[in-house]
């Protein structure tokens, strides 16, 4: 009697050949997204950089996109996976519009749909390597939520991804309050983005701020923040220890 040992070529966890079918590492990545609820809706900020490892290869990537009438999606992590997610959402919004029945997907529905997608991919060991920020307004109610690549999902008054969690959230915890005006909201986001610019090596000084209100989504033109490098200690950085750099 002969035995055949079954080779499961679909098993992407144990089989090296099938590994080419699933995400193992990210390649072109976007850095932090920072978002806050404000008086009229949600404000979101991101820079336009796409890093290829430690190289800042792409400098014109829009990492925030409008979804349907009521939502705004920002993504950090693998850019190609973000584009794939935009394709899924495109189909979702299209089918929703085709009903033509006065019902439409709001930000809560989109957020939960994305949570299901991300969690299911994680369970198959083939994640979409992104952390997503979903903001929106529907029927006067603002919504802001986040989903990670392993399907962790929650809502809050302010969210950030990646380095933003460590550098921006503490600022927001101190200075965010309900009913921020648009100007104050933008100032607050710029404060966070400036810190990220100084301290996150994958950040670039070219950012966009997006706003979503009951009227819809507007994404600003790219602009840069003023920075200050004239600290005295920068003039002679090795003063305390000659010979070091």
């Amino acid at each position: 009697m002969t035995f055949t040992i079954p080779i499961d070529n679909g098993d992407s966890v144990k089989n090296a050949e099938a590994d080419s079918q699933r995400t193992l590492y990210p390649y072109v990545t976007g850095t932090s997204i920072v978002a806050i609820k404000y008086k009229d809706g949600v404000l979101m900020a991101s820079d336009m950089g796409g890093s290829y490892g430690s190289t800042l290869r792409y400098k014109n990537i829009e990492r925030m996109k409008a979804i349907g009438k009521h939502s705004l999606l920002g993504a950090s992590g693998e850019i190609s996976d973000f584009q794939e997610i935009l394709r899924y959402l495109d189909e979702l919004v299209l089918n929703d519009n085709m009903w033509d029945d006065g019902n439409s997907l709001g930000p809560k529905e989109v957020h939960n749909y994305l949570t299901r997608v991300m969690y299911n991919r994680r369970n198959k060991f083939n994640p979409l390597w992104n952390t997503l920020v979903l903001g929106g307004v529907k029927n006067g109610e603002s919504y802001l939520g986040m989903v990670s690549m392993i399907g962790v999902s929650f809502e809050d008054n302010h969210v950030a991804t990646g380095f933003g969690n460590h550098l921006a959230r503490p600022i927001l915890r101190d200075e965010w309050h309900a009913d921020l005006s648009f100007e104050d909201g933008v100032k607050l986001l710029e404060k966070c983005m400036r810190v990220l610019l100084y301290r996150d090596r994958s950040a670039i000084n070219k950012l966009q701020i997006a706003k979503i209100t009951e009227e819809g989504v507007t994404v600003s033109q790219p602009y840069s923040l003023k920075t200050f490098w004239e600290f005295k200690a920068f003039n002679n950085p090795t003063a305390g220890a000659e010979g070091s750099w």
Binding site: D101, G102, N103, S104, L105, N112, Y113
Partner: protein
């Protein structure tokens, strides 16, 4: 309608462009006991007559909760109705799970209608023999739909299906224009009065009818017998020595369900 050579298969057209099997399926709906639905801009009431096979048995369940915001009343082959209710519950809960949001009732009825249509175009299937009154909420308020075995669906302000439903429809036709702005209590009262019309003389008691309500801020639920009886008491005199009459009336009721069409007996599976 008489038997003819084009009525054996659901996939056979008649020369006059009719699918007789589908029409026969709609006959099954007319044999079932009455179900009534009405809606205002914020609430939907579904009511039905409770028919039991005999005094020994319990009555057939004809109104089902699909979700907190959707209910369905059926008439016809109740087994088919149960299966379709299960399908509706499944669709509703799958939507809730994926989107954390209630499935708009308008979309559910389209899924249901498409499912029914499939059975009118497969030689190895038969149409569902049940009519469904689907009441529910979506973003634009309260809605009432009627899904029939043909795969068609229509939206209504008020409707009645099943045996002796014409009496209820006549009552509703007189009053429907006021329903949109009706209060919840008036809507329930109208539903019970419409049920009374289908009983044709038999005393209206709360044990004879089932009433369910859903609305904005009010999840689907059944009214208990006490609440229904209280409503009835507001417009019916309490019957005095009528127990003898009621008992005589009951057996006559059972046989009379067919309304003088070809079949003399109501098939046990139809309620």
């Amino acid at each position: 309608m008489f038997r003819n050579q084009y009525d054996t298969d659901v996939t056979t057209w008649s020369p006059t462009g009719r699918l007789f099997q589908v029409e026969y399926a709609m006959e099954a709906v007319k044999q079932g006991s009455a179900a009534i639905g009405l809606r205002s801009s914020s609430h939907v009431v579904l009511a039905c007559v409770n028919k039991a096979q005999s005094e020994l048995s319990s009555h057939q369940k004809k109104i089902f909760k699909v979700d907190d915001h959707i209910g369905v009343a059926i008439a016809g082959l109740t087994a088919d109705g149960r299966v379709l209710s299960r399908y509706m519950r499944s669709e509703s809960i799958n939507h809730s799970f994926t989107y954390e949001s209630p499935l708009p009732v308008g979309r559910l009825v389209v899924h249901l209608a498409d499912k029914a249509q499939v059975c009118t175009q497969r030689s190895w299937k038969r149409p569902y023999g049940v009519g469904l009154l689907v009441g529910g909420l979506d973003e634009s308020g309260a809605h009432l739909y009627y899904n029939c075995p043909s795969g068609n669906y229509f939206e209504y302000q008020a409707f009645a299906i099943g045996s002796r439903s014409q009496a209820a429809k006549t009552y509703l036709e007189r009053r429907f224009e006021s329903f949109a702005d009706s209060s919840r209590e008036d809507l329930i009262k109208d539903a019970i009065l419409a049920v009374r019309e289908t009983l044709q003389g038999e005393t209206l008691k709360s044990s004879l009818c089932t009433v369910s309500v859903l609305g904005v801020g009010e999840p689907f639920h059944f009214l208990d017998q006490e609440a229904i009886q209280k409503m009835i008491d507001t417009f019916e005199k309490v019957p005095e020595e009528e127990e003898g009459d009621a008992e005589v009336a009951a057996p006559a009721e059972q046989g009379g369900g067919a309304d003088g069409l070809g079949d003399q007996d109501v098939a046990p599976m139809e309620m």
